[in-house]
Amino acid sequence: MKNIVLIALFSLLFLNMEGQDPKQSSKGRSLPSVELKTLDRKTLLTDTLSNHGKPMIISFWALWCKPCIKELTNIGNVYKEWVEETGVRLIAVSIDDARSSSRVKPFVDGKGWEFEVLLDPNSDFKRAMNVNLIPHTFLLDGNGKVVWQHTSYTEGSELELIEMVRKLNQGETIQ
């Protein structure tokens, strides 16, 4: 029985992928609907996240991930200027598990980060967004579609990210 279900599932995927516009699959994906927690433990659905027509960045991180903290610290230093200039909204999604999710709020406050932080303690959103390695950053356009994504962090990468945001604001398309 399991095999039949799997074959059915495969055929379904196959049939759909064939007929699909490639632009639809990789780019222009809107956010799936997954439950996340805010730092004060309210539940929030990911498909309700938006930035009123402006670009939005979603960055996956965890307390145990050194490059993630580097990236967010570097962005944290310039975030105010970014918002003033471009109106961008950054949401840092922590995939910290039960071990450390209660530590995220004091950590974030202690660092003085001013962007939003949400919790994904069961990694549901991480899986739904096909994230393997963190840091993994998604850029969404004003319509809430994923237009660009990047995995890993190298010193200075945030400059490329804000450059993309500027391009989006000027109505250019992202390659």
Partner: protein
């Protein structure tokens, strides 16, 4: 439209007459049925559906190394190891489905040999409507902070205890969340029909008063409650147990009736006011004699409490935990790192530098008392200590000890099979220290170009308890220092230098580590690393563990290549660790996302 789909079906039927009807029908029927339904809805399915996915492959090629005593016979023909997976997601309106293929051919060194093989490791279908959601297939779930139930997957560690079954989520009203599930857990490629594990069932309810009562929506006062119940059912034969008694060398033979149902319940409260928050969770487990606790009939208990205070620039955390006989697996006889129903979070934080994680702690399910405190503080900009950019100070201290244990009666030794095991004062610390860890870390930005992190760690590590030896090694006392400097040459080029040192008179002695990293943002990465065990008592083991690696990232595609010598140790991600043996060789990682 209807005509069209009928034609479609009859064409298929014609074809079926030619070959063995029965066999082919079994295979093609779902396909045909699906094609039909798809045909009708195809327009919508194609234009509004989203297909996405990801894959990753990690490969190592091992070479002989005299210093590590690795040669043809120790490698035993396994010169190459590959761990890989591919995941496809399909989303259409309220419906989603996914499929994950995995291959370990053979698995990389350090992964369980049971992982060897390939196939569809995971599949699911999920349907959401309004406030109701149902999942069939494999899924991941967590109740509370996981001390009662947690199924999760950690690729880097080769850990996956996904549940295979059904899950229902229901939200009857604002702020009320109900979940119910049943299934069995993944144990590598072993089929459930082989009868080596039990069934897991659970319900969970959460009540968030700030969402339930409109007036409290934006109140500084926060309250939520959670309660769950999880049971394991496993068919149990009568078990014969040989129990040592006093005087030493004497035995008694018993036939034990082991409980087929083991139940665990949880109650949790989260209470917050303004900048303060207190989370407390209590878990109790019914009698669960198992290989993990030496078949004692004592009930299990766990308490976790975390108090936090934070405002901009300052975060303080204070937590305490008691674990007492809380190992919980879906197979009574299991002792390995599989089939865990619950997850007992260690209180000590995971550090970010390799020497600070050389002696990592792992929760002792049979009993531990732990306290932890952490402070995160940023000296504001334009102050004496803050300087132009602000200075971040991070402090943390953890202490983990045994629980206090007394024999149930004078003539029965502690932890004797078939007895209640021991008695224990709930709030008392035992005498034996399992782990202690102090961290002081400063992060300072000197200019637009230069940044530095300096850290000091002091650790006490009970090697016997944590690694499961019987009083062979004693405790390890380690002092660790780290200096990590990053210099931005310009907006794209930067160089990072990391110096680490570890001093200890026990275990393998002193270490020194150097890493130089050169990055060309956002795509290129190049690094040279060396960890030198110059303080080893045995001159032959004073080895350089060097590594040279290179990485290229284009958007979400990443490829990295490395060559070097890996030191033996525990690799930890999230909450758990995996043992990695020493090896020398090439490594390749390829990961992408579409």
């Amino acid at each position: 439209m209807f005509e069209k789909s009928r034609n479609h079906l009859s064409n298929k039927n014609l074809f079926l007459f030619i070959i063995d009807m029965k066999k082919l029908l079994r295979i093609t029927l779902p396909f045909v049925l699906l094609s039909c339904s798809l045909y009708v809805k195809s327009q919508d399915f194609i234009h509004n559906a989203q297909v996405s996915g990801t894959f990753q492959a990690d490969a190592n090629a091992y070479v002989n190394d005299k210093l590590l005593h690795i040669n043809d016979s120790t490698l035993n023909g396994k010169r190459l190891g590959i761990n890989g997976f591919a995941l496809i997601h399909y989303d259409y309106k309220n419906f989603s489905a996914g499929l994950r293929y995995e291959a370990f051919l053979p698995p990389l060194l350090g992964f369980s040999p049971d992982a060897e093989g390939s196939g569809i490791a995971n599949w699911f279908v999920n349907y959401k409507v309004d406030n109701f959601e149902v999942t069939a297939g494999n899924f991941y779930e967590q109740f509370g902070s996981g001390m009662i139930l947690r199924s999760y997957e950690e690729w880097t560690l080769g850990y996956d205890n996904a549940l295979d079954g059904f899950r229902v989520k229901f939200k009857p009203y604002h702020g009320i969340y109900l979940k119910g599930l049943m299934g069995y857990q993944r144990n590598y490629w072993v089929k459930y029909s082989e009868g080596n594990r039990g069934l897991v069932r659970g319900i969970d309810g959460e009540l968030n008063f700030n969402e339930l009562i409109e007036k409290l929506g934006n109140s500084p006062f926060r309250l939520s409650l959670e309660a769950s119940f999880v049971s394991k059912y496993e068919k149990m034969p009568l078990k014969t147990i040989i129990r040592p008694i006093l005087p030493e060398g004497s035995y008694e033979v018993y036939q034990y009736k082991l409980p087929e149902n083991v139940g665990v319940w949880l109650a949790a409260i989260n209470l917050g006011y303004s900048n303060w928050n207190l989370m407390t969770e209590y878990v109790r487990k019914s009698e669960n004699p198992s290989a993990l606790n030496n078949y004692i009939y004592r009930e299990g208990q766990a308490l976790l409490s975390v108090l936090t205070y934070s405002k901009k620039g300052l975060g303080i955390e204070l937590s305490a935990k008691r674990i007492d006989n809380m190992g919980f697996k879906s197979r009574m006889e299991e002792k390995e790192n599989v089939l865990d129903i619950n997850f007992l979070p260690p209180l000590n934080p995971l550090h970010l530098y390799s020497f600070a994680t050389m002696y990592p702690y792992a929760t002792q399910p049979n009993g531990e008392m732990a306290v932890h405190t952490g402070i995160e503080y940023t000296f504001p900009k334009n102050t004496l200590l803050g300087g132009k950019y602000g200075t971040n100070l991070s402090l943390s201290y953890s202490l983990i000890k045994d629980i206090e244990k007394q024999p149930v009666s004078a003539d029965i030794p502690i932890d004797s099979t078939g007895t209640l095991g021991y008695t224990s004062d709930f709030f008392a610390f035992g005498d034996r220290k399992f782990y202690e860890d102090l961290k002081i870390q400063l992060t300072k930005k000197f200019s637009q170009r230069l940044k530095m992190i300096a850290a000091y760690f002091n650790q006490v590590y009970d090697k016997d308890v944590i690694e499961g030896h019987t009083n062979e090694y004693g405790k390890v006392y380690a002092n660790i220092g780290v200096v990590d400097m990053t210099y931005r040459i310009n907006n794209q080029h930067s160089i990072r230098l990391e110096l680490q040192t570890l001093f200890t008179e026990q275990d393998k002695g002193n270490w020194m580590g150097t890493t130089i990293e050169y990055t060309l943002a956002p795509k290129w990465f190049f690094s040279l690393m060396d960890e030198y065990n110059y303080g080893n008592d045995n001159p032959d083991d004073r080895i350089h563990y060097y590594n040279i690696s290179f990485g290229y990232t284009h958007q979400s595609t990443r490829i990295s290549l490395s060559y070097g010598r890996q030191r033996e140790g525990l690799l930890c991600v999230g909450g758990i660790c995996r043992y990695v043996p020493a090896y020398t060789g090439f490594g390749l990682t390829l990961s992408s996302n579409f």
